[in-house]
Structure formats: C-alpha cells, structure tokens
C-alpha cells in the first residue's frame, strides 16, 4: 500500500490519525502551508519546522515553468532544493492554469496554455501532470482535474466533473506506485449532491490513496461548503485520508474537521502575514491600523512564536508602515504558528472526544474581544 493511514480517534464525524509516508509521518488533521514556487513565502525551512508544520504544498504549475520540473529533478528533487525532507503534496497545476495562464484551451486530451511569466506555450495532460509531480519527487501527487467555473449550471458542472473523472483514471494509470508515495483523486460536482456522489463513486471505482474535495472556497460561502462536505464525506472510504483543497479560515477549518476532513491547505496565513493581517486566539487583527502604533502588547498573549515572544504590536505596526521585510517575515511566522497550534488543539480535542466544546471555546475567543470588529480594518 502506498500509505498507511491509521485513524487513531474519532469524535462524531471528526477523525484524528497518523499518515505514514516515505518522507515521515503526519499527525492529522493537518494544515499544509503553501510553498508555491518552492518556498513558503518569507519563511526559512527552519522557521517552518519551528511552527510545527509537518507537510507542505507546492504548485506544479509554477514549478514546471520556473525552475522547470526536469531541472528540479536534476538538482535532487524538491525536498533537497527546499531543505524540506518531510512530506510534500503537489497540486496538479490545473487550478493555476485556469487562474494564471493566458490563451488557455481545454480539450479532452488536456490543456494548452501560455506561461504568465514569458508567454511560452505549454501543454498539461493528466499524464504529464503526474510525470511532473514524479520529477518534483512529490510525496502526494494530485490528479489533473478541470476546475469547474462557479457558479455553473448543473449540466455544466456535470460535464466538467465527468471529464475530471476520465482524467483521474488517466492520472492513476500514469502514476508509478512507490512505497510511501500516493496519488489522490479529487471529488468534483460543484454544489450538487448528486454530482458529488457520482464523482465520489467514480473515483472509488478507480481507487486512490486519498480523496480530495475540490471546487470549494470559490465563492459559494461557508454554509454551502459545509453542505457539500456533509453529503460527500460519508461516501468516501473511512480508511483513506481526506483533503479539503484551498480551505480556509480558522472557522472553516474547525467546521471541516468536525465533518471528517484530515488535510487542509490555504494561503490565508501566509498571504495575510504579508499584508498585515494577523490571526490570533482573540480574532483577526489588521496591523496596519493606527490603533496599534503605541501598543506594546504581543499580538497574541497565548502565542509562543518569535513575533509574540520578542516584540509588541507597535513594532509590527511600524514594520508594516515602513515596508520592512521583517514585518511579513514575523507575521507569516506567527500566522503559521497559530494555524499549526489550532490543528494541534483540534487533534487533541478529537482524541479527547471534546471537539464540540473545543470549537465553541475557540469561536468564543475569536469574537470576545472585538477581533471580529477589526475584520473590516
């Protein structure tokens, strides 16, 4: 078997477990910071490790264009390049092709596009996407899928999902199994329960090492997203990891863990860290806000990251106002530390069968001291 995924505790639909990979173990539920171009922006590998990060995500689209998949392979793979011996999950490139590339043309065989960097033409097929991920030395590879537009009619969502299922089969056929490596299928079908069920079934006919839920966090709202999870997750095999792609806020994560998700990735902590947005146990803060200019308090009194241990809000505010790189560096570190601490809290709550209480306490903290009020800041 590609992976051993052992579910060690459950609390309602929520699960805690351990994923054993060729590059080490991952305690689930786990959050994967996004290392788009072979680096989690503003973070050294040592800093990432210090946040409690266990597994990273990297983007096939960016890396195939620069520095190039064959070059990464010649340099010893992405783990070696990034100084990240731990597990790395790579996406298939499909989502970025649709959102970043130009002159994109989709056909049954794959997708042709021009690089957003230099206009050079490229083609991505299910087979090439898997090959690139092999060259990158991904621990977990993802099938190439077609990103369904949102909103879409049910008929359009069906056609898109069905093509993605054919591509999933081709991806599986192209994937070279190796111990401790795996390929995940992606459930599509928009917000339509029937399509989600058909997609979950089609993927299991092929058989994957894990199952992702795709096509969410694209504007449908948290309630619709949770609705899709509620109807989809019971249809997936209990012994395989489940990955909710591109999600989300701390509140999204708590709700998705409660519904049975094991893996997350999102740019929220890293993008927020670069733009002055802090996630804390007391809610979200905008460090560019002048109210912080004279405030010596740490970002989060409960946090042990270097930003909170060594500095106050006034200094972080100053760094952002002055456009100093140290602002994004410290705040990215803090946000990832916060997200990883949140995941640890959730794992422990599932193990103790106290997830509902834990979630209520977390949510109370986020809103108690006006954190939510600053969301607009």
């Amino acid at each position: 078997m590609s992976f051993a995924h052992r579910v060690t505790a459950t609390d309602g639909a929520a699960r805690a477990g351990v994923l054993h990979t060729a590059h080490g173990t991952v305690q689930t539920p786990a959050f994967m910071p996004v290392g788009t171009a072979g680096t989690v922006k503003a973070m050294t590998a040592d800093a990432l490790r210090a946040t409690g990060t266990q597994v990273l995500l990297a983007n096939t689209y960016h890396l195939m264009l620069r520095p190039g998949a064959e070059r990464v392979a010649a340099l010893g793979g992405l783990h070696r390049l990034m100084d990240w011996p731990g597990p790395i999950l790579t996406d298939s490139g499909g989502f970025q092709v649709m959102s970043l590339a130009s002159l994109t043309q989709m056909d049954e065989g794959g997708v042709t596009f021009r690089s957003h960097l230099d206009g050079t033409p490229h083609r991505l097929t299910p087979e090439r996407a898997v090959e690139i991920q092999h060259l990158l030395d991904a621990t977990v590879s993802m099938v190439l899928d077609e990103c369904t537009a949102y909103p879409a009619t049910e008929e359009a969502a069906r056609r898109s999902m069905e093509r993605s299922m054919r591509w999933a089969s081709r991806s599986r056929a192209a994937f070279v199994p190796r111990p401790g490596h795996g390929l995940f299928g992606i459930v599509q079908g928009g917000v339509h329960p029937g399509l989600r069920a058909a997609s979950a079934d089609a993927l299991q006919q092929v058989g994957f090492d894990g199952y992702a839920v795709g096509g969410l966090a694209v504007g449908e709202g948290q309630a619709a997203m949770f609705g899709v999870l509620d109807c989809t997750l019971p249809l997936l095999p209990a012994d395989r990891p489940r990955y909710l792609m591109g999600v989300g806020t701390p509140d999204d994560i708590v709700g998705a863990v409660a519904r049975g998700i094991d893996l997350f990735d999102c740019v929220i902590p890293t993008r927020g860290g670069r733009t002055g947005r802090a996630y804390t146990s007391e809610g979200r803060l905008n460090l560019r806000n002048a109210r912080h200019a004279d405030d010596p308090r740490p970002l989060d009194p409960d946090c042990a990251c270097p930003a909170c241990i060594a500095h106050g809000r006034a200094y972080l505010h100053h760094l952002f106002k002055a456009g100093e790189m140290l602002g994004p560096m410290l705040l990215t570190w803090h946000n990832l530390h916060y997200f990883q601490s949140l995941m640890r809290i959730l794992r422990e709550a599932v193990a103790a069968r106290r997830l509902a209480d834990c979630a209520a306490a977390l949510r109370a903290g986020w809103t108690a001291r006006g954190g939510a009020a600053e969301e607009e800041g």
Copy 2:
C-alpha cells in the same frame, strides 16, 4: 569613564580589543550591520545573533521620522523594540538629512528639512540629535556633523569641518554621561591631511569616548581613503575606539583594520543580499546570473550559514529570479555571516601577529577562482 576599551593585541598599526558597554562587550575589530529603521532588513534578531553580530547601527533620521523618538522611548527603547539587548550605535542623522530629505537648509544652529516620507518640516540641531539618541537608548551616540560635499575645495572642506567641530562641542555638552554609554566625535576634513589633523586635534580638545573617521567612501576611491587613514589614525588616542563610517567591501575592511580601525558599518552585505550579490571566500557572485541555474554547489564551501548548509546556488538563483523573499533573506544572512566571519578571522590574525599573511591569503581567495570576473555580472 563611559566605556572601557581594552586593546588586547596589536600587529603593526592594527589592534584587537574589547569594548565594554552597558549592553555587553564587543570584540574589536567589529562590523556593525545597518538597521536603518529599527530592523536589519530581512533579518530576525535571532538570525542576526546567529551570524556572530555583536553590535548594530541604527539611523536617527529614519527613526525620528517613523516611528518617532518619543514613541520609541515610550515603548522601552530601541533594544526592547528590536529584541536586541546588545549594543546599538546610532548615527546622528546628518548624513541622511543631506541625502534623503528635501528643502534642506543648513545654518549655524542646525539643519531644517522636510521629511522624505510625508513632507513634514523638522529641525535637527546638535542638541536635538543627542536628545533623540538618548530617547532611542543608544549605547553609542554620534555627534551631529555637516557632511562635506565630495569633491570640495580645501576652503569649502575647511569651513564645513570647522562647523562640524563647533557642533561636536555642542553635542558633547548636550550628552548626558551614563555608565557604559558613550559619544563619539567625527574627524572630518575631506582628503586634506592638514584639515584632518586640525579636526582630530579639535575633537580631542573636547574629549570623546571614541573617534570616528567620517566623510569617506563617498567616491574618493580606496587609495585616497587609506591615505586619509594613514595620516589621521596616528593622531587619535590609542586607548579609544576608532570607527570608520560607512565602510566597506571586505578588501576595504582588511586594509582599514591593518591601519588601526576598530569599528565598521556598511550596507554592502545587506543591500547586496537583497539584490543577489553574494560575498564569499572566493570573491563576489551575482546570483541573478544564469550560470548558477543548474549549479548545486553551496555559495561558499567554507561557510556554515543556513544558505550554504541547506541550499545550493541553483535554488538561490531560482529564488531571485522568482522574486521570492526567501532569496534576500538567505543571502543577507549569508553575507552578514561572511562579514562577521571575516572580522573574527581578522581579530585572530591580529592576536597572532599574522595579519599581513592573513590579508594576503584572503585577497588570494577573492581573486583565485574568477570571483572578481563576476563583479560585472
């Protein structure tokens, strides 16, 4: 006495010693990274400590404008703000006023200018410059001086130097002595030995805790700079630290240490780190150069910094081409590590009375493998 400065070894004109300050000791000769706005760009305080940095420089001009000297004081001072309990030297702001501010008007009392940030009017006098440095909690404060234009006629250089000497007296009078804190005078006089001698004499009539050589590295060239050191340093008291402001390249530093300089500051390692310029034991490299794209070797085989231990040139090249913050972060770290290692090597060479051999070996390394050829890259 403000500082104990103990010269522990000499080798020709070169000295090694220990400066004892209220914020800790500094082994000299020492290099001070530049922390302009209260942060050494792209470096956490922990990373700075890991490079072997003992003392930082911060800029009065930038900090008086943002976040403001009174605000820094209210927040506990610059050491607390930056998480740098060690010594900090602050410049007086004069140089940045002349190079950055607009509508600058100089008179005998001081200098009036408009902030380059928001156009607000400000005035800096010798007394206010010292007061600001007190508010920042500087370990070493610098007198306000007038930056002599280069090139300048001897008469213009004399008039400028003489005003700077009057300002030095006023700075001294305004300075509040505290144990382990000190005020440095600045020798001016351009490239004119007679003016340098008059300036050195005038400062010693007042009496300072250390003596800086200012007005160099402004385009006069290394030979002229060394000429000024050769004629000036013998005129300064042997028991006080000597600081060469704004210098320099590794080769400049070696030559200035040989002539008796104890302290340096320069943006070269940090600015170079942000622009892809690496300083190594084999010379200078431009990491943006395509020749590095497939090169797995570390930047410097002799270096133990995180960039060299964990990554190769190809990855650093990729980070700079992709505009990733991690490139400047790793390369700034490397360059500072290299500069601090150089200072340690020089201190050990002076102690062993082997500085001439050491300097020759360093210079041979910088040019042996084509490092110099890449200077143009």
